[in-house]
């Protein structure tokens, strides 16, 4: 395997060629002395990983362990990436490009196979005769464009968008075929017109968008690449748009993203798993809230644990006891009140559960420990999370001391591919467990939108709001955070208008950052904001 192939893999991800990867490493160490260090690091990290596995095996199910090893694996991938930022001759670039082709094919095969296996797929081709064509040469004319696409079918309507001032092409067009099959044909292959690679995409008519479904995905590892992201979610259905939010500066994942499927069923399939495992992390799935739909039917969400925990986010103060909440920073409250803690406790558990799933640390146990200790002793107790602080007990040690048996049980029974971590923390009252079970059943039968941790979970999945932006983003275009939005191209948005609003807060007597609304901090609450002198 030569370095071209490595780059190839780096770009397109390569999860199924582990054996080759080891080879790759050998070659690299031979050829590049600078990688010695890297190899040493890898060895070290795999040692650590083994250790970690041994430790965690006692406490967590094997899936979790595999998960963590996946994570380490991906870490290795990353370091490999860094290693290959090596000189790259021009000719090699071209070679690499030629190697790109087979991969693309496999990809489309994959997607077509998933199309076949995907059940009850909504017929998106029906009435879907419209296309967006991007990347046009400025010189391309209506006639030229029509002539080109006519080989796929009868073009009924066509409009190249032009600058109103200069009449110059803006480089994109809308085109409508008579037959939706033409659209299917067009998207299958690459197109070059007037010397430019053009970019045809299905356009989703507004009314049809209601038949699609959008989800929010959170808790994604920062090493996840857009393509992996899209590939992973392709297992649930046909993706119209996958958008992994990337950090502007580092280009790394910001931990969340959005997927738009062509069917609501695909969304249901994804959402039947409250949490999914992806690259060693348990990710969070939420159905995107519909914008046009009426406020969800509250009762259908009653099975939701989170709704139960805190049904009323009460505007009115609920009474004095709230003031006697457990101090999260560990101080003991002598007025500790078990009843008053109920809601809070459940809510906290949910957070801890999340944390556990994302970090592999058992916060729930820690929380319970904390509660027990609080009940027992009246002294101050170190805050569980004070890991960074001197003299505080570290978190990992604490978590390994208390195995979560229930989590074991559940994960063992769950599908290894699409894992549901419904690990409900151990609770003396078994009610919450049964509730959780209820939820699981409920959700598999009729998947509903859930806001897992909110005091009040607005329920119901609805198709996403009509969103122009979707049109401009191709399913295969991962990562580039590209918006065809009207306002997308304006410097204005933030700078121009923003500045005038006097944001910034560098005034001598202002604490930076606060809410500076219309005319500085004259409006809006800031506890120590001060008008500029």
């Amino acid at each position: 395997m030569n370095s071209d192939e490595e780059d190839f893999n780096d770009i397109y991800g390569d999860t199924e060629k582990k054996s080759q990867e080891t080879k790759t490493e050998k070659v690299k160490i031979d050829t590049m002395a600078q990688l010695d260090q890297l190899a040493a690091l890898q060895a070290l990290s795999s040692n650590l990983n083994k250790q970690k596995e041994e430790e965690t095996n006692n406490d967590f199910n094997t899936t979790t362990a595999v998960g963590s090893s996946n994570e380490t694996q991906s870490g290795n991938d990353n370091s490999t990436n860094n290693g290959t930022a090596a000189p790259m001759p021009w000719e090699q670039l071209q070679q690499t490009v030629s190697q790109l082709q087979p991969e693309k094919q496999t990809e489309s095969e994959q997607s077509s196979s998933s199309e076949l296996s995907g059940p009850v797929k909504a017929d998106i081709s029906k009435d879907h005769c419209k296309m967006f064509i991007g990347g046009l040469n400025w010189e391309t004319t209506d006639e030229g464009l029509k002539a080109y696409f006519s080989k796929y079918g009868n073009v009924t309507e066509l409009r190249i968008m032009r600058d109103s001032a200069t009449g110059r092409s803006r480089g994109f067009a809308f085109l409508t075929f008579e037959d939706p099959k033409s659209v299917d044909e067009v998207v299958k292959s690459q197109h070059i017109l007037d010397g430019k690679v053009i970019d045809p995409k299905r356009s989703i008519p507004r009314e049809e968008k209601d038949k699609t479904g959008k989800i929010f995905v959170g808790g994604i590892g920062s090493d996840v690449r857009p393509k992996e992201f899209e590939e992973f979610f392709a297992q649930f259905g046909n993706i119209i748009d996958a958008q992994l939010m990337l950090d502007k500066d580092t280009g790394r994942s910001r931990g969340f993203g959005f997927i738009t499927y062509d069917t609501p069923e695909a969304v249901d399939r994804v959402c039947s798993n409250k949490y999914l495992e992806f690259k060693g992390r348990n990710i969070e799935i939420k159905r995107a809230e519909p914008r046009h739909a009426p406020r969800g039917s509250e009762d259908s969400s009653s099975a939701n644990v989170n709704n139960d925990t805190n049904q009323s986010s009460n505007v009115q103060p609920t009474g004095d006891n709230t003031a006697q909440m457990t101090n999260p920073m560990g101080a003991m409250n002598p007025m500790y009140n078990q009843n008053a803690m109920g809601d809070y406790f459940k809510q906290m558990q949910d957070y801890y559960q999340q944390m556990q799933q994302q970090t592999g640390m058992d916060y729930t146990q820690m929380y319970q420990q904390q509660m027990q200790q609080m009940a027992m002793m009246m002294g101050g107790f170190g805050m569980p999370g004070m890991q960074g602080m001197p003299g505080m007990p570290g978190m990992p040690e604490m978590s390994t001391q208390t195995p979560n048996t229930e989590s074991d049980e559940q994960s063992q029974t769950s599908d290894p591919n699409v894992q549901t971590i419904g690990a409900e923390p151990v609770d003396d009252s078994s009610s919450s467990q049964s509730k959780e079970d209820g939820t699981t059943k409920e959700s598999s039968r009729e998947p509903e939108f859930r806001l897992p941790k909110g005091p009040r979970g607005p329920s119901n999945g609805y198709p996403p709001r009509d969103n122009e932006r979707g049109n401009y983003r191709g399913g295969n275009r991962g990562g580039s955070d590209r918006r065809g939005d009207r306002r997308g191209g304006r410097r204005g948005g933030s700078d121009r208008r923003g500045d005038r609003r006097g944001r910034g807060g560098n005034g001598r007597r202002r604490g930076g950052g606060g809410n500076n609304g219309y005319r500085g901090n004259e409006n809006g609450y800031h506890p120590y904001g001060r008008d500029r002198d």
Binding site: D7, W138, G219, P317, G319, R491, R509, G514
Partner: protein, 917 residues
């Protein structure tokens, strides 16, 4: 000096005094008559003499003593003084009236000292005399005389003179560095004698403490000058200060000492560094022991300056953290009075209408008040505020609590780890205190430390945030209020890395929008606004849109005046973030329109509303079309009124000019309509293709000295060019370009940065659409000067826009940049640094298109590998290369050799690959 021997005519004197008395009569008719008769007097050349005479001789003049009671006389004297002051401040009076008598005699008013009111008023007249006459007439030796008289009187113990002196110095300090003529016709800089004399005075313990306090105050105004006369004696002054600090306990003196130290720390930290330990101890002592909060605030101001001072190295501050943090935390608890007020006003008030006086007056933003130093007398005002039983009023004014919080905030930014280490045990102990005000202060402290300490809080936040959310249910309104704020301070943490917290945190805050306490509503809506501001549009669209819309709907129904203003702001931000849809038309717009119709054109409440409508219109896009004509015609009417009255007032000073905010917000609303409707707004703005009145008005506004007005015009100009037929500008282009050029050249005012940004941005838009032809040389020259100057630090946002505009100009005229200043590798590299982070695809694409064309024409420039890498990096992100792929391929071909020497990352390689196929 014929006036020296001026003698008042007794009859006139009595008449005028009676008039002055009647001017203050409670009877309206008497008052009006007196005012009218006074006008007759005003035209007399001796009018000032009489006023002055009444003021200073009132208690000695036999006639007056005979005819008036003591009380009446005292009032008349004060009135005469104020009238004199006002008249003196009118420059036309100085030119036409005789002021010799005033100049020679006014000081007498400070000498008698029997009447505090007269003393004060005289001081004000003296100050007016310096401000409107002497500073321009420094060759008049009576000015010098008066100054020395003030110094002498002060050193002999006259409090009135010392007060007058400090006022004179406050207003005229810079002029005292210039030459003044003394009695012997010598040229002397008063600052020298001021320093000498004031130093002597503060050293005299036998003088009244007020005199010494006022003298230190005078010195404080001189410190700011950094005059040589002071700097050479700075050590001497420090010694005096240390001595005073140890021996004096009078509040006014202590206050001025604190201010002195603060100013010295700002101007000459090197002088203080070795004494810092002692000074900090002194400040802590004052904070801990002063019974007067204002004194403690000044001491805390020193700490704030200490902590924020960019020129004070971290390691100097570090040893003090342990001492400072506990004191700051302790003082973040509300004071006793405030606690009392809160505890007696905790009941629901959401349905109580706001009184107009509850709303902080919307002072026009353009008024720049120079409030020098803090005055101890300010504290009086706050007591007044507290007395109005409005609970929100407790928080007005600058308090020890606020100053402590601001200091803790800044300190956490500088030394997060140290501060947190010290603060945590305290916070942990108090977070669940039984006293609500302790909990409140602890949560405030958390919020104050949020920004600087975010990453150190990382481990705690997963626990802390749910806890804070729970506190939104606290029975005490101030706690709920502060929780809203503190949660918003942690919004970056939630939104960047921990979106799983977003809904659980935001939902309860959104619910709190409808709190039964207006104060809490205010904090909640502010908090929501912050979250919206920091949130990705996608998150709002997919997760929060409906919730927020419905909450806003309810808020519109519930909120009273004051919170409505903030609600407008939040709705505006919401509209800026996401594209509003039909539902919002039904939900939000009716509220805005009904409010809009209810307010008259001159109501200041229109400002935030216009601002909000502008955002909403632009977000609604074409859906706004039905409302556009009506909204536009009103915004246009308001704008016209502003411009007309502005130009009329040039000739007629009686015309009241509306606040600039009317012009600014209506310009912005017009811009919002253009953004909403695009080219279909053209018939609205330019009726009948020919009526260009709006452009005329825009040009008028571009001559406005207020930056914000020009800023809004440039924004509108850019959008007009973007959307409208470019023919619209024909005939006006050269004038607009002229103003753009002027704006870009006058870039040294920090306040004016946004208007420069908009001007440069608009130029970029214009050059992309209209051939600049003969103007290109001048304008490119101006931009290049701005881009390459080493003489000043140009604001980064300006530079970014200049870089983009250079690129845009290069699209059609690469030749002007291919030689000369722009044609070298370092400048190119700088250009890339500025343009690469740009988010907007449209802007970055056209900038790079032009830039690539420029490089193609700059054959003689040797491009470095670093620059090449930067260019590829820039092209590979947020650039629509489809519009100029041929140019890029040519570019790559030219630099083919070098490409192989550069290490690209995956993304860049991928980008390059797309051009080799």
């Amino acid at each position: 000096m014929s006036n020296q021997g001026w003698i008042a005519d007794n009859r006139s004197l009595a008449e005028l005094t009676t008039l002055l008395g009647n001017c203050m009569s409670s009877d309206h008719d008497v008052r009006t008559n007196a005012m009218d008769s006074l006008k007759v007097f005003e035209s007399q050349p001796e009018f000032f003499n009489y006023l002055c005479y009444i003021l200073i001789e009132g208690e000695t003049d036999a006639t007056l003593l005979q005819q008036f009671s003591q009380v009446d006389l005292a009032n008349c004297r004060a009135t005469a003084g104020m009238l004199l002051k006002n008249s003196l401040l009118d420059p036309s009076n100085i030119a036409t009236k005789n002021i010799e008598y005033v100049k020679s005699n006014i000081v007498k008013g400070l000498q008698n000292g029997s009447n505090a009111l007269v003393g004060n008023v005289t001081g004000i007249v003296v100050t007016a005399l310096f401000s409107s006459y002497y500073r321009q007439h420094r060759d008049d030796p009576t000015g010098w005389n008066m100054l020395t008289q003030l110094l002498e009187l002060s050193s002999s113990g006259s409090v009135d003179a010392a007060k007058a002196l400090s006022k004179v110095v406050e207003d005229n300090a810079t002029f005292f560095q210039l030459d003044w003529t003394n009695n012997q016709s010598q040229l002397i800089q008063p600052v020298e004698i001021l320093v000498t004399q004031l130093f002597l005075t503060i050293d005299s313990p036998q003088l009244p403490f007020q005199v010494r306090a006022e003298c230190i105050k005078s010195i404080n105004f001189i410190i700011k000058l950094q005059s040589q006369y002071f700097i050479v004696r700075i050590d001497e002054y420090l010694n005096k200060l240390f001595h005073l600090a140890q021996t004096e306990s009078h509040d006014p003196i202590t206050t001025q000492i604190c201010i002195s130290f603060t100013l010295l720390l700002e101007t000459r930290p090197d002088k203080l560094i070795e004494h810092l330990s002692g000074i900090v101890q002194f400040m802590l002592h004052v904070i801990g022991n002063s019974t007067n909060e204002q004194v403690a605030v000044e001491a805390c101001e020193f700490l704030h300056t200490f902590v924020t001072g960019a020129h004070i190295p971290k390691h100097i501050l570090q040893p003090f953290v342990g001492e400072l943090v506990p004191v700051l935390l302790a003082n973040m608890v509300y004071d006793k009075d405030s606690i009392n007020i809160f505890e007696t006003h905790n009941e629901a008030d959401a349905l109580v209408e706001d009184k107009d006086e509850d709303i902080r007056p919307m002072a026009p933003r353009i008024v720049k008040k120079s409030k020098n130093g803090a005055q101890a007398d300010d504290s009086d005002d706050e007591d007044d505020d507290d007395d109005e039983d409005g609970d929100g009023q407790v928080d007005s004014g600058w308090t020890l609590r606020k100053c402590s919080a601001a200091t803790l905030d800044s300190m956490t930014n500088v030394l997060p780890r140290d501060v947190i280490e010290i603060a945590f045990p305290f916070l942990r102990e108090h977070l669940t205190s039984e006293e609500w005000y302790v909990r409140e202060a602890t949560i405030l402290a958390l919020g104050a430390m949020a920004e600087g300490g975010m990453k150190y809080f990382n481990d705690q936040l997963p626990v802390l945030i749910p806890f804070l959310v729970e506190q939104l249910k606290d029975t005490w309104a101030p706690v709920r209020k502060i929780v809203c704020w503190t949660l918003s301070r942690f919004s970056p943490w939630i939104l960047q890395d921990h979106t799983e917290f977003l809904i659980p945190v935001l939902e309860p805050i959104v619910a709190t929008l409808l709190d039964n306490k207006k104060d809490v509503q205010e904090a909640a809506i502010s908090s929501v606004a912050v979250f919206i501001e920091n949130c990705d549009p996608e998150l709002i669209e997919t997760l929060l849109y409906n919730d927020l819309l419905q909450s806003f709907d309810k808020c519109f129904a519930l909120y009273k005046k004051k919170n409505l203003i903030i609600l407008y702001d939040a709705v505006g931000r919401f509209a800026e973030k996401v594209e509003l849809d039909d539902k919002s038309m039904q939900v939000i717009l009716p509220h805005l329109i009904s409010k809009w119709s209810a307010l008259p054109d001159n109501d200041k409440e229109l400002w935030p509303l216009l601002e909000c409508l502008s955002c909403v219109a632009s977000s609604l896009g074409e859906r706004f079309a039905p409302m556009a004509p009506e909204v536009y015609s009103r915004a246009y009417r308001i704008l016209c009124h502003c411009v007309e009255s502005e130009s009329k007032s040039q000739n007629d000073p009686t015309i009241v000019v509306p606040e600039k905010d009317f012009a600014i917000t209506s310009l912005d609303l017009i811009d919002g309509i253009v953004q909403a409707l695009g080219e279909s707004a053209q018939p609205l703005l330019i009726p009948g293709q020919t009526d260009r009145t709006l452009l005329q008005i825009m040009l008028e506004c571009l001559q406005d000295p207020v930056h914000e007005v020009r800023q809004s015009v440039f924004a509108l100009l850019g959008d007009i060019v973007t959307f409208f037929d470019t023919q619209v500008l024909s005939g006006y282009l050269s004038q607009f370009l002229k103003f753009i050029g002027i704006e870009a050249m006058h870039n040294d005012d920090i306040e004016g940065i946004p208007s420069v940004i908009n001007a440069v941005w608009a130029l970029g838009i214009i050059s992309e659409r209209i051939d600049l032809a003969q103007y290109i040389i001048d304008l490119s020259g101006i931009l290049l000067d701005l881009f390459t100057t080493t003489l000043q630090d140009v604001d980064l946002a300006i530079l970014e826009n200049v870089a983009i505009t250079i690129g845009r100009m290069g699209m059609t005229h690469p030749e002007v940049f291919s030689t000369g200043k722009f044609s070298n590798d370092i400048i190119w590299s700088r250009w890339c640094n500025l343009v690469n982070p740009v988010d907007s695809i449209e802007e970055k694409s056209s900038a790079y298109l032009g830039f690539i064309k420029i490089t193609a024409m700059s054959g003689n420039v040797q491009m470095s590998n670093t620059t090449l890498h930067k260019i590829i990096e820039g092209l590979s992100r947020n650039v629509d290369t489809s519009v100029f792929s041929q140019e890029i391929i040519d570019f790559l071909m030219i630099h083919q050799q070098k490409l192989s020497q550069v290490s690209f990352n995956d993304h860049e390689l991928h980008f390059l690959q797309s051009f080799t196929s």
